[in-house]
Subunit: 155 residues, 2 copies
Amino acid sequence: MSKKLSFALSSRPGFLIRRLHQIHLSLFAEECAPFKVTPVQFSILTAVEAQPGLEQAALAQEVGIDRATLANVVARLARRGLVKRLQGKEDRRLKHVLPTPSCRRLLAQMEAPARRAHERTIDSLKPREREGFLKALAHLVSAGNAHSRAPLRVS
Amino acid sequence: MSKKLSFALSSRPGFLIRRLHQIHLSLFAEECAPFKVTPVQFSILTAVEAQPGLEQAALAQEVGIDRATLANVVARLARRGLVKRLQGKEDRRLKHVLPTPSCRRLLAQMEAPARRAHERTIDSLKPREREGFLKALAHLVSAGNAHSRAPLRVS
DNA sequence: GCGCCATCGTCAGCATACTGACGGTCTCGG
DNA sequence: CCGAGACCGTCAGTATGCTGACGATGGCGC
């Protein structure tokens, strides 16, 4: 029965957060199956579309992952023709990331299913609870941002 | 300023959950640095201590990860002498996982820092909000359990 | 008692995510 | 103008987490 006292995995905040993350990944994969795109890839494509030409390091800060991981994901997106990478002319250290027509088409098609995935993740809460949950979630993320290894750019 | 409308990454539940998970991982790593143990490893050790001799598939269901990943993590724990694996006598397909004295010592030392990591993850909420947040979180995890690729055993 | 099917552990493959290190590039002070 | 330090992209290494497939084993019906 796993009721050993001091066991209680499912009373630990971190454990619950990991599980909810898994659930969201699964829902997103289900809703967006035809597109073979993960939530992180979708976040990056969204950011690239909103701010075309951002360099990789800045992009990493926008979506809250580290430089190495972002370079990995962007390389995969580039292989699929969803983004282009251009070496900076003024500052030759930079690589600017740009959306392709494919990217814009994909984002348009994915908007509805992606939104459904996000909604379904918190669907079983009553509207009032949902509001409070999202508010608390946003507050925790904002407060803990500095503690993350890959802090969001506050801008 | 990334205020493009329909961009708003930080209003998407899935995005916030991923970020909060990263923050928790970082806090846990900080608090438990001397032990070189991750949250998932700690969860597994806790489960092994509470239910010694469980086979790998059952253990995977206890902590909510799939068989393949669990085997990976357990192999690492075994290399460090924190668990033993015994092939089943009655059912020779099974591998029973058992804690070693090292495991018990480690769990005792880590209890306080691990608890601090979990507490700090939700520390910036007021007590009332915290309670509501945890309740909603537990509810969402329970409701979405079946949607996860590696559902928890309800028991 | 024998074959069908489920289950277990494992493997290869892929994706996310971090660290620490490296070489290339830029900036700024002296 | 030139050297120190900062920054950028990349790489290797490690960890979590999933899929689909595989061989070994077990249980059950006929």
